[in-house]
Homo-oligomer: 155 residues x 2
DNA sequence: TGGTATAACATGGGAAAATATGGGAATCAA
DNA sequence: TTGATTCCCATATTTTCCCATGTTATACCA
């Protein structure tokens, strides 16, 4: 049986001049619980930072190893980008991580940042950008509603 | 081996200035029994709060993980929308959860709230809004009576 | 059947604990 | 040394926890 962990919610925190941000306490709880670590990298598809547990990347690596045709060549290349970019972000005793300039500038983050839960992953956005992005996604969602419902999956 | 659990009934409770509401005791019993947690998010289709068990969302996360690939755009949007909005709501020793302003204002809830069972999920409404909604749904059900028969095929 | 005792629940308010965040001191690297 | 990075305090909030009380539901007994 596997332990449940989900990155959820949307939380704004300040980023100080040193690049420090408090990791949402729920996220910290997960990291502690599983005694693992947070890993972040530049999102390939959006102007934001993406994060997940180190385990998640390990799982990705394993999947690539074991299934040859599951991932296309393109995606295999993408994973190279991810692993090349990814870095661990341990948090200090006050619960903060220190984001790098590379990540911050990719996401256009300055004074404050929003953590957006994505289940097994999460993203960190510039607040204004995220606001726009959320509106966009919601609008889109209303069009293709059927596929969205968190329906109680049977079985 | 799956246990039976159903959120049922319609129960009104007060919401105090801190946003605290007593979770209906039947609901609490379910959460304890399955030793899981309540998760709430803004309903996509109605002005109300929707809730379910954390397991339900975890199941969704698993499905997404296994069915779509790591970089899919659809998956991206979907997870942002659902997990970005959802949040765990543990209840204290007196059985209350603390609803957030985001949720309360989405549902237009101030002094009191109604919990409406929906089986695997439940909803939390502003009492007056729910009254209207219930009337509407009942009226609708009467009109479309025939389509409610068991031989319907969309299951 | 009615009435009462008991337990479970809802709810208000305040105390205690956990967070977020600013400002250094200490450590390290080149 | 200089700049950067990590670590540690201090503090203002926010959130959680705990106790007290009124209410409602349930059990039990005469």
């Amino acid at each position: 049986m596997r332990k449940i962990f989900l990155f959820m919610d949307t939380i704004i925190n300040k980023v100080d001049s040193k690049g420090r941000v408090s990791l949402p306490s729920d996220y910290r709880a997960i990291v502690k619980e599983l005694s693992t670590e947070i890993v972040c990298y530049r999102s390939l598809s959006s102007p934001c930072i993406e994060g997940c547990l180190e385990e998640t990347l390990d799982k990705l690596a394993q999947d690539i190893e074991t299934s040859t045709d599951f991932f296309s060549e393109t995606q295999d290349n993408l994973t190279n980008l991810i692993f090349g970019d990814a870095k661990r972000f341990p948090f200090d005793s006050t619960g903060r991580i220190v984001l790098t300039d590379k990540l911050l500038s990719h996401a256009g983050i300055t004074g404050s940042a929003v953590f957006v839960g994505k289940g097994r992953k999460f993203q960190i956005w510039n607040p204004e950008n995220w606001e726009k992005e959320e509106r966009r996604i919601r609008a889109e969602a209303l069009k293709n509603r059927p596929s969205l419902k968190p329906q109680e999956t049977d079985k």
